[in-house]
Symmetry: C2
Subunit: 161 residues, 2 copies
Amino acid sequence: MTDIIYIQPLTAASFAPFGDVIEASGHPDRMINAGMCRRFDDCAQLSFADGRAGISVFDAKVRKLPMTLDLMERHPDGSQAFLPMTQNPFLVVVAPDEDGIPGRPVAFETQPGQGVNYHRNVWHGVLAPLYEPGLFAVVDRVGAGANLEEHRFAHDITIMK
Amino acid sequence: MTDIIYIQPLTAASFAPFGDVIEASGHPDRMINAGMCRRFDDCAQLSFADGRAGISVFDAKVRKLPMTLDLMERHPDGSQAFLPMTQNPFLVVVAPDEDGIPGRPVAFETQPGQGVNYHRNVWHGVLAPLYEPGLFAVVDRVGAGANLEEHRFAHDITIMK
């Protein structure tokens, strides 16, 4: 049996159960720099069990659609934000937790100018840029321990448009 | 008298007195996602006197060159990282502190894939994208208080290539 998941556009409302969409949307919280800059404040719920926040850079190979989803992961000790350093859309796959394993995945494609923050311990697919270069700044926990749980699916799941 | 500052390319070495260049440079610290992703760990010295790290979004108007630098600012209570959500180069102006005011400014232009982190209390110019859209994710301190010191120059400073 192949399970097919269709990709939907990413919106803050549809992504809310899993995390935050980081984008310049709606009214800015403040105008700064003498009116030259719109500031949207504090767009992501950062949460770290211990350790501290750090900024890393991920350079990931592009994924082709349709894509087989064989693995999901989660980070029990911290949230993880992916901030694209390009205007390229990328694929965001998340799932609700069902008794310690991922339930049915949900797939989103970002628009230019959108980043995401996975809330702590939310199941998600690995970083999946759809276009070169797959370059991201990542804000996540820096600290001791693996902070990683993985789940391999027993059946094939296909992600497509 | 007009003082002219010429723009130089941004490198980690030349920027080191002021902060960190956030980029996928050199050997990755780790390969993750079954070899599909290069991870460059913990690229920025985040430092907050109090409060906590947050992710905000800045959408700034483009600056034209040559640019007059009339104002610099610094944040006594925290570092501030600018992560471009585009591949557009932007202008980075910093200055050493000299008895509580900015010394002679230094100007850099980023390359695609480069972000910067201003160390805590380092004098810098306001966000100056050179191309539309001027969209950045910003990792800085979220907390009480102004956390802002400004300095207006008594003479004109021109930034140019």
